[in-house]
């Protein structure tokens, strides 16, 4: 069953169309990644789905409820982690979580139980009585996630959740996101600037100038829009034109520094086998989501 269904979604501002009739769906329990540059329409779309902005036209159903008509029911089903923390800096973690929980009509007992549940994986027990502005970036992000999940939503929206975090904290946040997906089967709608983060997604949609460019699995996108590359290390003098000509599975070969880089259209094994006396070392690189984005838009993601 689909957790989110979007049909012909349009958002117009006075003299500008931010979202130009997009269609996509997100299955229950899926990790869905939404990619695009700043201004592509990602935030506008996510804000419409989260009931912050109204849609100009189109049909959207979230957990079976119609956007624009059953917004209150939708709000009970969604949790949002914003790009920046949206908790009160002068309040303690506990005060922040209790006030936010009360917005959903939760009792103190229910909120305390929820916090207890999270303590096991997000370790917030020790920081509950600390002021929010005194926490480290990673601690703040952990509390942001708890806040978004305090009312047991079915869909978690993550709007660039790891931007500005150090690698260790990024990993921690991602471990928890994967736990939510794998153990709790939560539907996760993610926007991110980090292309490598989309590798773990079940599906990726790339948005450009308000239109969807592609909608597929990361593997499918890489197959369609990127090529593998062979990097091999060998002195330039050892590779003559004849050797190059024999490498028929290469689309393009360049020499950079101390290595050759070949964009593959076929298999590299035969070439490596035939030239094993000349190749001192090699690397086979799979196509990346960066390549996909570059090939689709002609631009690198900033």
């Amino acid at each position: 069953m689909n957790a989110i269904e979007v049909k012909n979604l349009v958002k117009n501002y006075k003299n500008f169309q931010a979202v130009k009739g997009i269609d996509f769906s997100v299955k229950e329990g899926e990790l869905f990644a939404f990619l695009g540059e700043n201004g592509a329409g990602k935030s506008t779309t996510i804000n419409m789905l989260c009931t912050i902005l109204s849609k100009t036209s189109g049909d959207v159903k979230i957990c079976g409820h119609e956007l624009g008509k059953e917004d209150d029911k939708i709000r009970e089903k969604i949790g949002v982690v914003f790009q920046t923390s949206v908790l009160d800096p002068k309040l303690t973690v506990k005060e922040n979580l209790y006030t936010r929980g009360s917005y959903y009509g939760l009792s103190k007992k229910e909120i305390a139980a929820r916090i207890n549940e999270f303590d096991e994986s997000l370790h917030i027990g020790d920081i509950l009585n600390r002021r929010f502005d005194k926490l480290s970036g990673g601690q703040k992000r952990r509390v942001d996630i708890v806040r978004a999940l305090i009312h047991k939503p079915e869909i978690l929206f993550l709007d660039e959740p790891t931007t500005g975090l150090d690698p260790k904290t990024r990993k921690e946040v991602w471990d928890y996101i994967m736990e939510l997906k794998n153990k709790r089967h939560m539907t996760i709608f993610l926007t991110t600037h980090y292309m490598e983060e989309t590798d773990v997604a079940d599906r990726v949609v790339i948005l450009d100038h308000g239109k969807i460019l592609c909608d597929d699995t990361p593997a499918g996108l890489k197959t369609k829009y990127s090529s593998r590359r062979l990097l091999w290390y060998t002195p330039k003098s050892k590779i003559n034109d004849e050797v190059m000509a024999s490498f028929t599975d290469a689309e393009k070969v360049t020499y950079e520094g101390d290595r050759y880089i070949a964009t593959l259209k076929g298999d590299a094994l035969k070439f490596l086998n035939d030239n094993r006396d000349k190749v001192t070392d090699y690397e086979l690189l799979k196509g990346s989501m960066d390549d996909v984005f570059l090939n689709l838009t002609g631009r690198e993601l900033a």
């Binding site: 009931t51 912050i52 949206v86 002068k90 009509g105």
Partner: protein, 303 residues
């Protein structure tokens, strides 16, 4: 309702947990107090002494002191009603700036309730802070041994404070719609803090102003509320003074005091009765509430 009360509680916590913001919200009141201590008290006492020439043997110096201190207290309370209301409403602007407002919009609490929560929390904070000031002031006046307030006057004072807080908040809610960020609202707060003391006659009695300036000052409901507070706080001491004089002056001294220290508001050269002031404050509050309901329905809805 739980969600609504949750936001009200959160707004109050945001204000009261920020000690710096609390102190700044009372800046005008602090300035009024400092100026009073430095020289305003002297000029008030001089004015009172000037008016009681020939009556010195009837009026005790202690009563003059109570009278002057009560003028101060009404000025501090009147300015607190304005500045505390504004400072708490500033949370509304800050929430828009920091995207906290967007977070609240993703919850099941309706937009109308979200906007109303800011109004209610600001009215509560303003009532609490001004009531606190009044209670402390009352304590100090009692400690001096001379207090001329009946229990009914005290209860009435708290009622006037609540009315003043609601009207000031409703009035400022409309102004708040114009601010997109806290730097703009902070700049306005600077102007408001400076102007508030003059508008309510805390620095200089409004009687010193020209008729047109009086009218402008009295457009603001806070001026009327301050006059209502002044009457409630000081009618007791004035009637005690009048009793002490024993009718020798045909009530001229009390009449002069009421004129000089602004016991009635004036608009277009005409003095308003206290009940007229009360009706004006309630009417302005009602109009402002109706206006901000319309404004916020347009500005706070989903765009």
């Amino acid at each position: 309702m739980k969600g609504f009360m949750g936001i009200v509680k959160r707004n109050l916590m945001v204000y009261f947990k920020d000690i710096q913001a609390v102190i700044f919200s009372l800046l005008t009141s602090i300035i009024v107090f400092v100026l009073y201590t430095l020289f305003l008290k002297g000029s008030f006492v001089n004015a009172i002494n000037g008016a009681m020439q020939g009556l010195e043997s009837f009026i005790e110096a202690g009563d003059v002191e109570v009278f002057a201190n009560s003028i101060l207290l009404s000025g501090i309370m009147g300015s607190a009603l304005i500045t505390v209301s504004f400072a708490t409403l500033n949370t509304f602007v800050r929430d828009k700036e920091t995207r906290i407002a967007e977070d609240v919009l993703t919850t099941p609490v309706s937009r109308a309730k979200i906007v109303t929560s800011y109004f209610v929390s600001s009215s509560i904070a303003s009532t609490l802070m001004t009531s606190f000031i009044f209670t402390v002031g009352l304590g100090i006046l009692s400690a001096s041994g001379r207090i001329y307030l009946s229990a009914a006057d005290i209860v009435k004072s708290y009622g006037v404070i609540a009315l003043g807080a609601v009207s000031a908040t409703a009035f400022l809610m409309i102004i708040m719609t114009f601010f997109k960020d806290t730097s703009a609202s902070a700049a306005f707060f600077g102007i408001l803090s400076a102007a508030a003391g003059f508008v309510i006659g805390a620095y200089i009695p409004i009687s010193e102003f020209s008729a047109s300036v009086k009218t402008i000052c009295n457009i603001f409901p806070a001026s009327h509320v301050t006059v209502m507070i002044r009457n409630t706080l000081m009618n007791g001491v004035l009637s005690h003074m009048n009793d002490s004089i024993g009718g020798v002056d045909n009530g001229e001294f009390v009449k002069a005091m009421k004129e000089v220290f602004g016991f009635r508001t004036e608009m277009m050269g005409k003095a308003l009765s206290l009940s007229a002031s009360g009706i004006y404050v309630i009417a302005i509050a009602a109009v402002c509430i109706a206006t901000f309901v319309v404004i916020y329905q347009k500005t706070y809805k989903r765009r």
